[in-house]
């Protein structure tokens, strides 16, 4: 199962990247990013997965045999942070998109080339 999910995660990353690199609509690109983020998160959590073990919460199992019965808590802790960061970044991008649209009345990425060379 770990394999399946980690592969799913990687595929999500690729789909997200595809969206970022190929879509012309800014909103789509940002959605690509959320997919990208989700994929990364799935991969990270899969890394901490240990076959047949439970969540690292000790009110279910006693503290003594925690070591034998829980999955790795560290990636999960990291993913928590990552999800929140992803939200912040997405929100920021959306605000940018709003502003850019406000400016040019378009979401086409090819319209924002005022800066070059």
């Amino acid at each position: 199962m770990g394999y399946i999910i980690i592969i799913t995660g990687f595929l999500l990353v690729l789909i997200g990247l595809w969206g970022i690199l190929s879509q012309k609509n800014l909103i789509k690109i940002i959605l690509g990013f959320t997919i990208f983020d989700t994929g990364i998160n799935v991969v990270m959590v899969s890394i901490g997965y240990v076959k047949g073990k439970t969540a690292p919460i000790l009110d279910i199992i006693s503290a003594k045999d925690a070591l034998k019965s829980v999955v790795d808590p560290v990636p999960q802790a990291l993913v928590l942070t990552s999800i929140v960061i992803g939200l912040g970044v997405s929100a920021l991008m959306l605000v940018y998109a709003i502003k850019l649209h406000h400016d040019k009345k378009s979401l086409d990425i090819n319209n924002f080339k005022d800066l070059k060379w």
Binding site: L21, I47, L78, M93, Y96, L100, I109, F112
Partner: protein, 1043 residues
């Protein structure tokens, strides 16, 4: 001691507190912001002090009360203290600078600002890789916000590009982090280092994703379009912070993470750094927008430092010093430049000429530019020096070439820019208004650069010997720049004389240095005397002149390779400013600088090879070059030849000397060119004839010298501009000198010395007098002059004597050179070169006649009827030099005998003296007798004429068979306009500007290439994202494709 965790706590507390404040309380907000920045600067500064003064051991700060790797820890060592202090200082100064903008945008932006600075601190200090990721995210989100400070359309686009790119990068970083954790069971950097990921299967890929992300954070070429747009579009204050602060932090991250991968990744770092350094600077050459230009430059500099990190195996313990030296220069200069751009607010670099009205700002601008290029006394000079030396010591010539090539491309645009700002007309639409909060940070950065230069000098091998005394004097003069000319002039002369008195006893038994010291310093005094003729204040003249002379005297005093190069660069800088003072000298000053820098890099390369041959920093190392011996000597020679303006490298000279101010021309022609001669002589002394390849090199250089003489003189023949004519003449004369000393015989060298001394004297006279006349008549064109002998008899005599010397006509001292040269050529067997040289010598006669005739003889022009003699202050030094010429002519043995004796140490003796009579195995010559005979005969003949023609009637100007010359539209009818038309028909093909065309094509090619290259920056953010991914994939395939 305040633990650095308070940097985080206090700033976040303040940031959150700022959120409560009402939007109208901007004043309180800004006080809190500045207070917070002052506090963190204090904290980091305090640690820096502890490390530097009390040599405290590195401190580890634990969070959460657990040891790493279980909890996050920070580290505060010397490196961290230095970098956080740097970041906080630029943060504080940037905060002060941005006060207005931040107030306008609101309190939120202040909070973002301080959080940004804080995040950079943590990035530097943290030892946990995921924590690093979090704070990198904070810094990039804060950057994304701060870009919008000006609420401009372009800023939003740039911000979007930035966020997209960093978004991709940080996700890849996360993949790297999680897999590192998976493979190495640690998130702590030290733990990851200990785990040695490279030895774990798959660890290399994890490392790759981490490294590629960190490198991408550094905006490597070409995946950096987003970074450049940020520099371009954001408020200059923010760009300064990004360039000086973020880049610093990100570079340290690369350095910090470097040990994780071991030596496998370092070459890639170096290659990427080199590509970035060169590519980015190359693109800068076509850039006109100042902020974008600075962006290119920033990225280039970061590439250089990344390269240094990558090359650390070769640099050993010096890595940090070198990296820091270059970093601090980049840091201060780039921050200062961005801040300046915020004051000037010009859309293109031409607009920076607004600085002309603000000399102190202009001075700072120059300081920043010179610091970026790596001129002394700035830290980057020492950094580059150490870098090149260390690389040479390990035989890494390709890297050296890359670094120098990149630096050169950087110089191309930076000096174009500096030239514009010094010379272009002040634009009317740009006004610079004084705001203390914008001026102060710039000044402080300028001061920091000088301070750090002095501070870092002793850390370089041989750096303790550098004599900063002359530089201090230069600064004194700069400080006294408000005084009138005569005070500063007197002060300068007094200073130089004092230095001479101090210097000469130290030079005993070293005749060569004494002669050159005499030329440099004596010439300095004489040419400065002419400065009394100037009125007003001459802002900036004296510091720059003295800067050049300090460099020159430093060359004399140098005992080590470092001192020599240090002085060489000082001299170049000073002379650049002197040359560019002329009215129309901008393009010439520019090409002078480019040739000088190219030459300096050739010299640097050669010196590095010398150093590498025996790890010996003393100047004597030039005598024992074992690494690439021939190349080393060739490079050194070429380097020096850029200063002597030898054929192929001469195109800068006519304009530079011709357009310079009237008393600057003699300085740069009579005196400065001798620096190249000094270098060549020194080089040949050490090289000798025994070293492999030296015979061939000398042979080629001999031909170059001969052809230089020919082309220089021919060029002069067809000039209509008096000063350019003299400038071409200098090229020719320096060709003789090069030719003479390449013969490597006693006679050849004697001839070389004779030419050197003579050229010093007569070219000083000529440029002084002709320069004075040009100023007086208000034209350079000889065809607008004429008949001046009546108005300026003293000038005429001075010029007459000078041209007799140039022509080599007995009995004056010019003949000594010719005679020695004849003997030397026949003795050496270089007959054909010799013929070319003698042919050139006769051609000299053509331009000399043209000069003296067009200016002094012929018909007096109507508008010059009320002319008076030129200022006595110009004539006095000229006549002092004439006395010198006379003494040298009548008693050549006084000079040539000691020189000959000195030379016998190096060459077999071939010139003998018998009283006043010199003889060689071929011929003989008696200067004193010749003088006596000629003077006697001349007096007798004159007496006869006086007796025979008692009643000579002076007649009027037009009392001749007058025809065809019209005083108006003078060039159409002035008889000496295009006087050598027939000669041109016959031999004009020899002066086809082949060399000029060649260099033009080279520069066109560079510019075209740069224009083609920068098409990748299409402005489309998606393409930039594509570049980022492309970079990752290509890097992966190259580095790990075989896995």
């Amino acid at each position: 001691m305040v633990t650095p965790i308070y940097i985080v706590a206090v700033i976040l507390g303040l940031a959150f507190l700022l959120g409560i404040l009402k939007s109208s309380m901007t004043r309180l907000g800004s006080i809190l912001m500045i207070g917070g920045l002052v506090f963190i600067t204090f904290v980091s500064g305090q640690w820096l002090y502890e490390f530097l003064v009390n040599h405290r051991a590195t401190d580890i700060i634990y969070t959460a009360g657990f040891l790493p790797p279980y909890a996050i820890n920070l580290q505060m060592g010397l490196n961290e203290a230095i970098l956080t202090t740097m970041i906080n200082i630029v943060g504080l100064l940037g905060g002060i600078y941005l006060l207005d903008s931040l107030k306008k945008t609101g309190i939120n932006s202040m909070a973002i600002f301080i959080v940004f600075v804080m995040s950079l601190n943590v990035i530097v200090m943290t030892r946990d890789i995921f924590n690093l990721f979090v704070f990198l995210e904070i810094s990039s989100i804060a950057t994304g916000g701060l870009i919008l400070l000006d609420n401009k359309r372009k800023a939003f686009q740039a911000g979007m590009k930035y966020i997209i790119a960093t978004g991709i990068i940080s996700n890849f970083l996360l993949i790297g982090i999680i897999f590192s954790y998976y493979f190495a069971s640690s998130l702590n950097i030290d733990g990851l280092i200990a785990a040695n990921l490279m030895s774990i299967k798959g660890g290399a890929i994890a490392l790759f994703t981490i490294y590629v992300s960190i490198i991408l954070e550094l905006k490597p070429f070409p995946a950096n379009g987003w970074g450049i747009d940020v520099y371009t579009a954001s408020n200059p204050g923010i760009s300064a912070l990004i360039s000086a602060g973020s880049a610093t932090a990100a570079l340290f991250v690369a350095y910090k993470l470097m040990p994780m991968g071991g030596s496998f990744w370092l070459p890639y770092f170096a290659i990427i750094g080199a590509i970035t350094f060169i590519g980015s600077n190359l693109m800068g050459t076509r850039q006109e927008n100042p902020n974008r230009l600075l962006g290119y430059s920033s990225i280039g500099q970061v590439g250089l430092i990344l390269m240094i990190i990558g090359l650390s195996p070769y640099l050993g313990k010096d890595t940090l010093l070198i990296g820091f030296s270059i970093l601090i220069s980049h840091y201060a200069a780039k921050a200062g430049l961005f801040w300046l751009s915020g004051i000037i607010k010009s859309k293109n670099i031409q607009g920076w000429s607004a600085l002309r009205k603000h000399p102190y700002l202009l001075f700072l601008f120059g300081t920043f530019i010179f610091a970026l290029i790596g001129f002394p006394p700035f830290p980057s000079f020492f950094g580059k020096w150490n870098l090149i030396m260390a690389l040479a010591a390990h035989g890494q010539y390709a890297w050296m070439t890359a670094i120098l090539a990149g630096s050169f491309t950087e110089a191309i645009y930076l000096f174009k820019w500096l030239g514009y700002s010094i010379k272009l007309e002040v634009p009317e639409d740009i006004t610079i208004k004084f705001e203390w909060n914008k001026y102060l940070p710039i000044y402080l950065m300028g001061i920091l650069l000088y301070f750090m230069g002095m501070y870092l000098a002793p850390f370089t091998e041989g750096g303790v010997y550098i004599n900063f005394l002359p530089l201090a004097f230069v600064f004194l003069l700069f400080a006294l720049d408000f005084l009138p000319v005569y005070v500063k002039n007197t002060l300068s002369i007094a200073g130089i004389i004092w230095y001479m008195v101090r210097l000469f006893p130290l030079l005993e038994h070293d005749l060569m240095r004494e002669i050159f010291a005499g030329i440099f310093l004596g010439g300095a005094v004489l040419t400065l005397v002419a400065g009394y003729a100037k009125k007003g204040k001459r802002p900036g003249f004296y510091p720059m002149a003295l800067l050049m002379f300090s460099g020159l005297v430093g060359l004399i005093e140098a005992n080590t390779l470092l001192e020599f190069f240090f002085s060489w660069e000082l001299m170049t800088a000073g002379s650049y400013f002197l040359i560019i003072r002329g009215k129309r000298s901008m393009p010439h000053g520019y090409s002078y600088m480019l040739f000088s820098i190219g030459g300096a890099y050739a010299i640097l390369f050669g010196l590095a090879l010398a150093y590498a041959s025996g790890l010996n920093i003393s100047l004597a190392a030039l005598g024992h070059i074992t690494q690439l011996t021939t190349l080393a000597y060739t490079l050194l020679a070429v380097g020096f030849m850029t200063k002597t303006a030898s054929l192929g490298l001469h195109i800068w000279l006519p304009g530079a000397h011709g357009e310079a101010e009237s008393d600057v021309s003699p300085m740069v022609s009579a005196i400065l060119l001798k620096a190249g001669v000094f270098g060549l002589m020194l080089l040949f002394f050490y090289m000798g004839t025994g070293t492999p390849g030296s015979e061939k090199l000398l042979y080629v250089l001999g031909w170059v010298g001969a052809l230089t003489a020919l082309s220089g003189n021919l060029g002069a023949v067809f000039q209509e501009d008096a000063k350019r004519l003299l400038a071409y003449s200098s090229i020719g004369q320096l060709g003789y000198i090069l030719f003479s000393i390449t013969m490597m015989t006693q006679l050849g060298w004697l001839a070389g010395f004779t030419y050197t001394i003579n050229h010093f004297m007569f070219k000083a006279i000529l440029f002084l007098v002709i320069g004075g006349i040009v100023v007086k008549l208000g034209t350079h064109n000889m065809y607008e002059m004429g008949g001046m002998i009546k108005k300026m008899p003293y000038s005429f005599v001075a010029v007459l004597i000078s041209i007799i010397v140039i022509g080599g006509i007995p009995p004056l001292s010019g003949f000594a050179g010719k005679w020695l040269l004849y003997n030397a050529v026949i003795q050496k067997g270089w007959y054909f070169q010799g013929v070319v040289v003698f042919f050139a010598g006769v051609i000299a006669f053509l331009y000399l006649f043209k000069l003296i005739h067009s200016v002094f003889l012929g018909q007096l022009k109507d508008n010059h009827r009320n002319m008076k003699e030129i200022s006595a202050w110009i004539l006095i030094p000229s006549y002092i030099l004439i006395i010198g010429i006379m003494v040298f002519s009548a008693f050549p043995q006084w000079v040539l005998k000691p020189i000959g004796n000195m030379l016998t140490v190096y060459f077999p003796k071939s010139l003998y003296w018998q009283g006043t009579r010199a003889f060689t195995s071929l011929g003989y010559w008696d200067g004193t007798t010749t003088m006596i005979v000629v003077v006697t005969a001349f007096t007798l003949l004159l007496g006869w004429l006086v007796i025979a023609s008692k009643k000579v009637k002076r007649i009027g100007q037009f009392n001749i068979v007058y025809a065809a010359e019209r005083p108006y539209r003078p060039e159409t009818t002035h008889v000496s306009y295009n006087i050598y038309a027939g000669y041109k028909k016959a031999l004009g093909f020899l002066v086809t500007p082949v060399v000029e065309t060649f260099w033009e094509n080279v520069s066109d090619m560079v510019l075209d290439f740069s224009g083609w290259l920068r098409r990748i920056y299409s402005g489309n953010m998606q393409n930039y994202a594509l570049h980022v991914v492309l970079f990752i994939v290509v890097f992966y395939l190259i580095a790990l494709g075989g896995l």
